[in-house]
């Protein structure tokens, strides 16, 4: 598995797309900090970008990589290598290189602007951690989609749809149900609904750490109380890990059963 991981990783490191992705974050970080020197404000703006863009890039890149390296995968399958280690190796290769582009791309400008001497360091690391988690989650989901669909167009379609659902439509349904059931106590419901969607969970986790959490008022206080406790932190990290491991389990299962 590690050999394949290493191979995929180096292959991607040499690819143009990784550089573009890395340079994009580098530029974004520098431009943001250049435009306003306030580190914590930049973190908030970055959050908006990361919450939307990281899942999108993760999905598209994952699907793309799978379809592109299909021939190589078939070649590997002929070798005496375990199937699961081929696909998991490829998955981690993609996910880690994306995560690295993100962390280094954003990390460099913030280090230049003195993040280590700033109070924003905790928020910034939280931002990077959720960013890495989102990369892991959405790349895994992309692999599951790609494995189940041999048709490239269909695969891409489902991948985009998945992103659209979790990033936009889910919030729409969430909002509608909140408004529809406004006569009932909604604290528990909104907590659970937030926990179930990794994008919402990351957004709320970051928002609660920021000054802006004061805007959340009473609801925010309920969330703060929940996420402030050890139980809340453990639960939300468990949720994120679950979102990574369930698709991984499916990658293993599908790859073991699939007829290539």
């Amino acid at each position: 598995m590690f050999k394949i991981l290493k191979y995929s990783f180096y292959d991607l490191m040499r690819s143009r797309w990784s550089y573009v992705y890395f340079l994009f974050y580098l530029m974004l970080g520098f431009v943001l900090l250049f435009l306003n020197n306030d580190l914590s404000k930049a973190v908030i703006t970055l959050m908006n970008v990361i919450i939307i863009l990281v899942p999108l890039i993760g999905t598209i890149f994952g699907v793309m990589y799978y379809y592109n390296s299909k021939e190589f995968t078939e070649l590997l399958l002929a070798q005496p290598v375990k199937r699961s280690s081929i696909f998991l190796g490829q998955y981690f290769g993609v996910a880690l290189s994306l995560a690295m582009s993100l962390v280094i791309g954003l990390g460099l400008p913030f280090i230049f602007y003195g993040i280590f001497n700033s109070d924003a360091i905790a928020n910034f690391s939280l931002l990077l951690i959720t960013g890495v988690f989102l990369t892991l989650i959405f790349t895994a989901l992309a692999f599951v989609i790609a494995l189940t669909n041999d048709n490239k167009i269909k695969g891409f379609g489902y991948a985009i749809l998945l992103w659209l659902f979790l990033a936009v439509i889910y919030d729409g349904i969430f909002l509608m149900s909140l408004v529809f059931f406004e006569d009932y106590p909604l604290d528990k419901f909104s907590l659970i609904a937030t926990m179930l969607n990794p994008i919402d969970l990351s957004r709320v986790l970051i928002l609660l750490k920021m000054d802006i959490s004061a805007l959340l008022g009473y609801t925010g206080a309920v969330f703060q109380k929940f996420f402030g406790t050890n139980q809340g932190i453990i639960l939300s990290s468990a949720m994120l890990i679950l979102w990574v491991s369930v698709p991984l389990y499916f990658i293993r299962r599908i790859s073991n059963r699939k007829d290539f």
Partner: protein
């Protein structure tokens, strides 16, 4: 016939003035404590208190006296109770440092209390470790100037207010600095009060708190980082000018809370980094002119029963929500303001945008209806519906718009 009376009067005056002695209090003086000095002094005498520490409390001033501290002598109440009580007209207190006022749950002990008196002047006091600071009770025509009040309040129920006015008339409160008490300045049933150039910071509850007080003016004050901000309630004809409301940031905080305020003027104020800039409830006929709203969560939150308010020439910079309304009904006018989130154009270059601006976002409407939805703040979906509502308003009041949004911020320095 006339002359002798004049001479008599002259002598009477002279004699009277001659009687206005100066009494000194210090460790080596004939008067070693303030209590005996006050008891022995005649009306209109001046008591000079030299530098030192005087462990005294319950000092009742029942005749017109001038009490002046030299080099800030310390009166230490040792947490026993009230320290200075003024029960006569024409009393001046100047330059004392008063510490350790007693805390009680049944009596409001104050460092300085004025009871039913006129023409008092309280200035240059330093109050520390106090319960209530300066407590004016049914007092009239007095001044409270340049005092520094530094409390150590921790809980609302076990702390008092910095400067409290209760049933007062014609009092000037100028240039005081009040920190860490419950309410910085508290007014109840007090009319014609001028509150000017004060700084009220880090107080547990309100920086300034108005109740049932009419015809009052407060201007050029700074209210910063108070637990809940400034509350003006159940009052009429209040003028609020040139104040700064800053950093009142917390889940239940606001810069300025208006409840049941009518016929008032709010102009040239700055609201910076408050959770809610102004929270308006049941307030009518108020003019909001030339104010700056900067980086607030909500710049203006209109809660209902607010009619005939006018918002003119205000600047709204980078607030998460500019205006929030909880109904579809609107009777307030917004005209000629600057909105930083305005995206219209100005073809004839007259500085006024050609497309009206709608300050109420759909999301703020939804949040008002179902507060739990605020958890979707900064979600992509919200941006999308806000945009579509902006293009074709369905839920927000259709007549709530600024017909003449300015393209450049109003510069208030000119006014």
């Amino acid at each position: 016939m006339k002359l002798p009376i004049f001479i008599l009067l002259f002598f009477a005056l002279f004699f009277n003035q001659g009687r206005a002695n100066t009494i000194e209090v210090c460790e080596s003086c004939s008067y070693k404590n303030i209590k005996t000095a006050i008891a022995e002094a005649a009306a209109f005498d001046t008591i000079k208190i030299k530098k030192g520490v005087y462990r005294e409390f319950n000092l009742h001033i029942t005749k017109p006296l001038t009490i002046i501290g030299e080099g800030f002598p310390v009166i230490d109440g040792e947490d026993q109770g009230e320290i200075l009580t003024i029960e006569a007209d024409n009393v001046t207190i100047d330059g004392l440092k008063i510490i350790n006022v007693g805390t009680s749950y049944t009596t409001d002990f104050a460092a300085v209390r004025v009871v039913k008196s006129e023409n008092f002047l309280i200035k240059n006091l330093q109050l520390e470790r106090l319960f209530f600071g300066i407590y004016l009770e049914k007092a009239r025509n007095g001044k409270v100037i340049n005092n520094t009040i530094l409390g150590d309040a921790v809980e609302e129920f076990s702390s008092g207010n910095g400067i409290q006015l209760w049933y007062c008339n014609n009092v000037e409160v100028i240039g005081n600095t009040i920190k860490k008490v419950r309410d910085g300045i508290y007014l109840e049933f007090s009319d014609d009060i001028l509150i000017k150039d004060n700084i009220s910071q880090n107080n547990l509850r309100y920086g300034l708190h108005f109740m049932f007080s009419n015809n009052d003016i407060y201007e050029n004050n700074i209210f910063e980082n108070n637990g809940a901000g400034v509350a003006v309630m159940f009052s009429k004809f209040i003028t609020m000018k040139g104040n700064i409301f800053r950093k009142n940031w917390g889940t239940a905080s606001f810069g300025l809370l208006l409840k049941e305020i009518n016929d008032s003027e709010i102009s040239n104020n700055k609201f910076v980094e408050n959770t809610v800039g102004i929270n308006i409830e049941g307030s009518n006929r108020i003019n909001y002119v030339d104010n700056d709203f900067r980086n607030n969560g909500w710049a203006v939150k209109v809660r209902g029963a607010c009619y005939s308010n006018i918002f003119k020439k205000n600047n709204f910079f980078n607030n998460s929500f500019d205006i929030s309304y909880n109904s579809k009904l609107n009777d307030n006018s917004f005209d000629g303001n600057y909105w930083s989130s305005y995206t219209g154009y100005d073809l004839n270059k007259d500085g006024i945008g050609d497309v009206p601006y709608r300050p109420v976002k759909l999301f703020s409407y939804i949040v008002n209806r179902t507060p739990e939805t605020i958890i979707l703040l900064r979600s992509l979906f919200i941006d999308i519906i806000d945009f579509s509502e902006k293009v074709s308003p369905v839920f927000t009041p259709d007549n709530l718009l600024d017909q003449n949004p300015l393209l450049k911020p109003v510069s208030h320095d000119i006014h």
